[in-house]
């Protein structure tokens, strides 16, 4: 089945949102969604890494297929992602040290963000061509950013309200994520 680029984009952004429908990238989703001003840059950084990883993975996959080395796929993907993260880290450190400090440990942890590896693995499994791969990674990244920003906005409001002691912390975030996920189910079928 041939999907158009637009369908892929909408699917990755809303209907099959990486965080809320496919459970990819939950660690940063729960970790850095406390404040809006770190959530958005984190989303953008992750999107950029996803795009780079997706481009590299596409080229690499052709190369591996040519040499019949498919069993090395996973190892080479993860090495590429680690290098892309290193790149983003160096750029951020040079141009925005403040943001670099705010993101802290979560920046190098993009390497172990399932969403990034997920993009590379899914585009291989679905045999996307070049344009499809790029739209898929950008859509996925935008979806991740959207989920992160929504969650951060809700949590910022929540700090002002009166929550039972017992539910403080992760349990509350998970319940919130569940409600967000429930509302995202309304987009099901949108991508066709």
């Amino acid at each position: 089945m041939h999907e158009s680029a637009f369908q892929i984009f909408i699917n990755a952004l809303l209907a099959n949102n990486f965080v809320l429908a496919m459970f990819l990238g939950l660690c940063p989703f729960l970790g850095v969604s406390g404040r809006l001003d770190t959530a958005f840059p984190m989303g953008v950084a992750t999107t950029f890494v996803m795009l780079v990883a997706s481009l590299c993975a596409y080229g690499l996959n052709l190369l591996l297929g040519y040499f019949h080395l498919e069993f090395l796929r996973l190892i080479s993907y993860i090495v590429i992602i680690a290098s892309a993260v290193q790149l983003v880290e160096m750029v951020l450190k040079k141009y925005s040290p403040k943001l670099f400090r705010a993101l802290g440990i979560y920046l190098p942890l993009i390497t172990t963000n399932c969403a990034v590896l997920g993009v590379a693995l899914f585009q291989t499994a679905r045999e996307y061509d070049f344009v499809q791969s790029v739209t898929f990674s950008v859509g996925g990244g935008a979806g991740f950013t959207l989920a992160l920003v929504l969650m951060a906005s809700v949590r910022e409001r929540l700090t002002l309200s009166n929550v039972p002691d017992l539910a403080q912390g992760t349990a509350l975030s998970l319940m919130l994520a569940g409600i967000l996920s429930l509302s995202f189910m309304g987009f099901a079928g949108l991508g066709g």
Binding site: C27, I75, I78, F122, A171, G178, L182, M185
Partner: protein, 216 residues
């Protein structure tokens, strides 16, 4: 129990209960929520993760003296990715149906924070045997967590357990439980339950203390 055996037991139980990766540390959430729609999936995911965890912690620990500090994370990742590839191919050979059900999440074991966390925090500083025992404890703790979620979600969402129908024909499955939101809700509920248990324990201890001081 002699002291060294007690230490080993302690090391093992750390992962199973005190530092349970799912309920206490809340690590490795992605596979936890994604594959726990049924007990069988949860169990196989837990076992595969445990195998990778034990093997890679063992190897990381054996290589701990010859790994340069600057590139250690890269080395760990490559080691983990190797074992995940092995497990991936093994599951494909054992059961293609299971392989399709778990999908990309077997390969995504590579980026499970639990494994990298254990390699960095424990295996890199300890000899192979304790490292592997600790890894086994963590793996079992993770499997227990997955099973706890998988059981609730399968029973409520599909009315079955291990694929066996539990209720009569009148049972209306609570479908939302096997859909994505259900994963968040069930895990949230378990965390609430555990923090309630913790709180109750604390209150009882305080009550006992008050009683003791009054008696004295």
């Amino acid at each position: 129990m002699n002291p060294s055996a007690a230490g080993t037991w302690d090391e093992f139980m750390e992962g199973v209960w005190r530092q349970n990766p799912v309920f206490v540390m809340v690590l490795g959430m992605c596979p936890t929520l994604a594959v726990t729609v049924s007990v069988v999936n949860a169990l196989s995911m837990g076992v595969s993760t445990m195998l990778v965890l034990i093997a890679s912690c063992g190897l990381v620990s054996m290589m701990r003296n010859i790994t340069p500090k600057e590139v250690r994370i890269a080395v760990y990742i490559v080691i983990i990715a190797t074992f995940v590839t092995v497990v991936d191919y093994a599951i494909q050979a054992i059961s293609l149906k299971l392989y399709d059900a778990l999908g990309a999440f077997i390969q995504l074991i590579v980026v499970n924070c639990i494994i990298l966390g254990r390699a960095e925090a424990h295996a890199a500083k300890n000899p192979p045997l304790p490292a592997m025992i600790n890894a086994a404890g963590m793996g079992i703790g993770f499997t227990i967590g997955l099973l706890a979620l998988g059981t609730v979600r399968e029973v409520l969402g599909a009315g079955t357990l291990f694929g066996v129908t539990l209720f009569g024909a009148g049972f209306q499955p609570w479908v939302i439980m096997v859909l994505p939101p259900g994963g968040f809700f069930v895990l949230g509920a378990w965390l609430l339950f555990f923090s309630w248990l913790e709180r109750r324990k604390l209150r009882r201890r305080q009550a006992k203390l008050v009683e003791a001081t009054q008696n004295a």
